[in-house]
């Protein structure tokens, strides 16, 4: 099947009437209300193929598990998506009002600020994307996916099961470089394999040190292996302090 966007008219209606739309979402466990509020044919088919787009909402899973399972599913289903398309609000709002509706309801709900952050884009650019309930699944997987690993979603699994580490990292500008993110998460996994425990405070200190590394040098100039070695050295020293 092809993925559907909301039309510009429907997107404007959605974004310009937050209080009314939030009320509809809170009051309706399924998305049948959209037919009454949005104009006819408010969804248009894109050229993007989406295979096996099925969200899991089993209540037996933890929220970290649910996020990881659905992030992996979404990343696989939308394998043809590029960054420009994935920054398009119309795509994520279209998905939120159709296939992703129930997942968003179960995972986040729409009460209070949840609607602003999880059903909408509270800020332009990356910050809005890493908070929107569905866009974040794709963008955080894009940050952590490593096709050179035996399991390309190994870092993604770690990241979604350490979401406080991940979100703090995502706020850093250098997290736009998959190579730098890869080095950091690989080092975390390696350190934990050695039986050492990483705390949130350790990660905050490490992220600052990585930023400092970029004060006189350009971090992006380091090779993947160099970065891994540097980060591993830094996190080990921080833990043992």
């Amino acid at each position: 099947m092809k993925i559907k966007y909301v039309t510009q008219e429907a997107l404007d209606l959605y974004k310009s009437n937050p209080m009314e739309i939030q009320k509809y979402i809170i009051e309706n466990k399924d998305s049948s209300w959209t037919g009454k509020v949005f104009p006819t044919n408010y969804l248009k088919e894109s050229k993007i193929e989406a295979k096996d787009l099925v969200f899991i909402i089993d209540e037996d899973y933890t929220s970290d598990d649910l996020d990881f399972i659905n992030a992996k599913m979404l990343h696989k289903a939308l394998s043809g998506l590029n960054e420009t398309q994935a920054s398009n609000e119309a795509l994520w709002i279209g998905l939120a009002l159709t296939d992703g509706y129930e997942y968003l309801q179960k995972r986040w709900g729409a009460e209070g600020t949840k609607f602003k952050y999880r059903w909408n884009f509270y800020q332009k650019g990356k910050r809005g994307l890493i908070h929107h309930g569905l866009a974040r699944l794709w963008w955080l997987t894009r940050m952590t996916y490593d096709q050179e690993r035996e399991d390309p979603y190994e870092l993604t699994y770690y990241a979604f099961h350490h979401q406080s580490f991940l979100m703090k990292l995502a706020y850093r500008n250098y997290s736009n470089s998959p190579r730098i993110v890869n080095a950091i998460l690989s080092a975390f996994i390696e350190v934990e394999r050695l039986g050492k425990l990483i705390s949130y405070d350790h990660t905050v200190e490490l992220y600052k040190e990585v930023s400092l590394l970029g004060s006189v040098t350009i971090i992006d100039a380091y090779s993947k292996d160099d970065l891994k070695e540097i980060v591993l050295g830094k996190i080990t020293r921080i833990i043992e302090k």
């Binding site: 404007d12 009437n17 960054e83 332009k124 650019g125 736009n176 040098t217 350009i218």
Partner: protein
Amino acid sequence: MEISNKLFPYPVLASFNDDYIDSNFDVTVKVKSTTRNYVTFEVLVLLENDHLLNLIESDLADFAIHIECSSTSYRSLVRFTDLSYEFVVPSGMINAKVTLCPYILARKTISDYINPLFNLYYEGLSFYIDRHSIMAISLPSELIIAKDYDEIKKVSSIFTLVKDLSDNSKDVIVTPDDLIKIKVPSKQYEDFKYLSNAQGQSDLINAIIIVPAIIGVFEDRKRRGELFVEEYQETRWYRALKKALSKKSIDFESDTFLEEDSLKLAQILLDSPITKAVESYSKIFESGDIYED
């Protein structure tokens, strides 16, 4: 990557400091072409410092461009040694504003770096330059990647009508987003929509809605100056308006814009909508399409 005013533990060639004398590093980056698949960038380097040039020729240093696009979170580094260079980025990876920061980076560690054109206060000193360290910086370029297939041709198309779902709404509200939204009460929404699409009625809508909205935009630009430019530069309506104004030889981003008359400009851009609206309304009236009770 905001780099100016940064302090380094060694001399760096840059326009914002005086670490070097009689030297210059100035890089121009332009978009050469944009297609559906690739954006091609063209780089022209001006380097006036023979010692740094020698370091590049002997593979101890090279030129680099750090590329970042905030809307797609794209980030990468290209490195090269030629004074003119071209590189491509897949179109799908960048959109709207792209920031390109040019540098000279050390490829290898240089343990006793001396340059004959160091400023006098570094006379007799040598420096340890770690590999990948910044040795020179040129001012960053901010380029807007305008994809032709996404371009707005008519000024009136930068506005979009939105229905106000609130029960008590009475007024029209104008909010800038990627396009400028004109939110109208739900009772009148269909009427507005009908008039916008009806043959021969666009002047009426332009006169009563678009002209005041566009004047509001111009006045806001005058009030907020640079801040306004920074906030909206990446939006589609801003780019379209800037282009339409430049066709009339008016620079939307220059200070001279402050002296322009907003009402006059709005009428020029929309091709005299007020007089045309009055004319077409009179014709309707004369033809008997409108009756008084």
